[in-house]
């Protein structure tokens, strides 16, 4: 099939090199078109923060595009010396390459196994190649198959089970406490980067209102403006916390802002009885005294709790690697078998067309010579007999070709057929 995948990923290349080799969407389109034109191949480029890979397929050529040419191309496009790239480059061909793409799409080759983004990125790569016209019959068969296999892996194993970002785990906890959010108040304390990411997740829950408080009123206003919330003066912190259902704390304070004593004396008495407060304390050092957590009225989760769950989830995903790899292996074989069957199509078509031509060369003069002596029905009978003879004659070679494809030993038979029947 002459497929070559050449590239580098987070294992083979340092981040500074990956940054230099990354493709912008514009460059990606230009480069794929250039690859297809220069090497007469189908081409697609996958570029993410963790990997850059070139997919080059030449199903009708005698050999795949070489790794050296792929390296030279990468060096040329990014203006880097080729010797800087080559040591970090890996390369796969044919069946290995098919399996590699399936593993990549199924997120088995990702930094965090089971992450969901990569399948979307593979799909975007394929869509780009299809739009550009650099994806031909082979890539048009391979990429959809890889995406289907990825879906199977995600749905049939627990590889994608759970969340692996701290902010998503935080939201999982919030969902264990609350069912709906249209009557809930979120209080954002501080303006840390991690807090903003978690706030983005909380915003997706569509809470009734968001209050933002910060020692710096400007920062509070800035964060509030960014999330459609209301800035609350730092002096009203206790009142705001008493009103909140979810508190997201991410300040840079050197010591706890809310001690158990302060919470008991200044916050708890102001809260409506029976309401639960979820505190997501993702500040380091912690902003809330952990002893206020009781799992009923106050549920407090700090960065250690969230990180622990994240690590548990990652570890749990490892246990699903074996069944996931088994699906990839089965899907790789299915694709290769299918491709072999499809590949025989043009050869069989060419064979039939050549023999049709020979049959016509014999039959047409014969019928012309007998013109006037035969009825139309008799002419049809003779033509039918020739066709039957031809089909019976070709049945053996075609069946042998299909069998050889199943056994993976097709090449020599195709060559023999080409020579025997003088196919172009």
């Amino acid at each position: 099939m002459n497929l070559r995948i050449a590239g580098c990923n987070f294992r083979s290349a340092p981040v500074d090199l990956r940054e230099k080799l990354a493709f912008t969407p514009e460059l990606q389109a230009k480069a794929a078109a250039e690859l297809a034109a220069r090497y007469g191949c189908e081409a697609a480029i996958l570029s993410t923060c963790n990997r850059v890979e070139l997919f080059l397929a030449r199903p009708l050529a005698p050999a795949p595009v070489s790794t050296e040419l792929a390296a030279e191309f990468l060096a040329e496009v990014h203006g880097l010396p080729v010797e800087r790239i080559v040591p970090h480059l890996y390369s796969h061909t044919d069946a290995d390459a098919v399996k590699h793409l399936l593993r990549v799409a199924a997120s088995l080759d990702s930094l965090i196994v089971g992450e969901g983004q990569i399948a979307g990125q593979v799909k975007a790569t394929y869509e780009a190649a299809r739009t550009l016209g650099t994806a031909g019959p082979f890539l048009n068969a391979l990429f959809p198959h890889a995406l289907r296999a990825a879906k199977r892996v995600r749905t049939e194993t627990g590889i994608a089970h759970g969340h692996v970002s701290v902010s998503s785990v935080a939201v999982d906890y919030v969902r264990q406490v609350f069912d709906h959010f249209d009557d809930k108040t979120v209080l954002v304390i501080g303006a840390g980067k991690m807090g903003r990411l978690t706030l983005k997740h909380l915003q997706e829950l569509k809470p009734k209102r968001i209050l933002v408080t910060n020692r710096s009123p400007e920062k509070a206003r800035e964060v509030a403006a960014g999330c459609g919330g209301t800035a609350v003066p730092w002096e009203q912190f206790d009142d705001a916390l008493a009103e909140a259902d979810i508190a997201l704390s991410t300040t840079g304070a050197g010591e706890p802002i809310v001690t158990a004593e302060r919470f008991a004396k200044r916050v708890l008495p102001k809260r409506r009885a029976g309401r639960t407060l979820v505190v997501l304390d993702i500040a380091v050092p912690r902003d809330f005294d952990p002893t206020i957590h009781d799992g009923d009225r106050v549920c407090l989760f700090n960065i250690d709790d969230l990180t622990r769950i994240r690590e548990q989830t990652i570890a749990a995903r490892q246990s699903h690697l074996r069944p996931a790899e088994a699906i990839v292996a089965a899907e790789t074989k299915a694709f290769l078998d299918d491709w072999e069957r499809r590949r025989n199509g043009p050869v069989i078509l060419q064979l039939r067309s050549e023999v049709d031509k020979v049959r016509d060369e014999v039959l047409t003069p014969l019928l012309a010579k007998l013109n006037g002596k035969l009825s139309d029905a008799e002419k049809d009978q003779i033509a039918g007999a020739f066709r039957l003879f031809q089909n019976k004659l070709l049945h053996g070679p075609i069946a042998a070709l299909q069998d050889a494809s199943k056994d993976g030993d097709r090449g020599s038979l195709v060559d023999a057929l080409r020579k025997l029947f003088r196919l172009g």
């Binding site: 627990g158 089970h161 759970g162 969340h163 785990v169 999982d172 906890y173 969902r175 264990q176 406490v177 609350f178 069912d179 709906h180 009885a273 029976g274 639960t276 957590h293 009781d294 799992g295 009923d296 009225r297 549920c299 989760f301 709790d305 622990r308 769950i309 548990q312 989830t313």
Partner: protein, 274 residues
Amino acid sequence: MTLSTLQGVSHTCFGLSYLLALVLELARLRWPGKTLRTAALAAATVGLLTHSAFLLIHHPSPATPYGSLLLLAWVLAIFCLYGAVHHARQAWGIFVLPLVVGLVGLSLALISTGGANDAAIPAWLVGEKFWGAVHGLLLLAAAVGLSVAFLASAMYLVQARRLRTKANPLDLKMLSLERLEAMNRRAVNLAFPLLTAGVLLGMLMLNREPLATLLTPSLKVLGSYGLILVVAMLVYMRYAAHVSGRRLAVWSLLAFALLVGVLMAAHPFAEAPK
């Protein structure tokens, strides 16, 4: 399926089906997947169908401890299937099925004590007369409400414990505390008036019996009064005292324990089997 085939349906058929469904649900905790879920759902459905057939053929009286437990188990089995379909991703069956299996087991245990003897109950109470039927239906609906409150409370306590220990949210997917608390609230709010009305109606009917029966109130009647008090206490604690969800859940468990006791006690109008 002919009627004669259905007549062969026994407690064992549906009891074991529910038990199998429970085992499969527990297995799902270790090996989550569609296959086990479908199998558990199928086993529970078979249980419900055979249970329904059994009730249809034998129509045990709801006035007997045996019949009331079987009917309650049947309603809860429907509740179980409803939840299994609507909350497919949540751990649901592992909470509801033990209750169903337990009630079926208790009803079986009652057979040996003669609690299944319909003849011991006066005809008017088993539904042949209107008010007897209303009394029975009100109490059955209240029992369903209290059972749902019990389930919501059991789930609430497990969920609260998981939150207290900060367990991985994905190890056991459960409804949120807020949802469970709302389920408990609705169930108790429904059960309280039904229970009160049912018991009051029973008291009125009790007046038709000889004085001796009134002077020696049965365990069932006393238990029912106690149950009303506990449920009233639950309502008070929720709306007046605003106690925490955990304490409400514990009181709901207590109410359910009392309910089972009341259901298992002999009916005041029961006559000694002849």
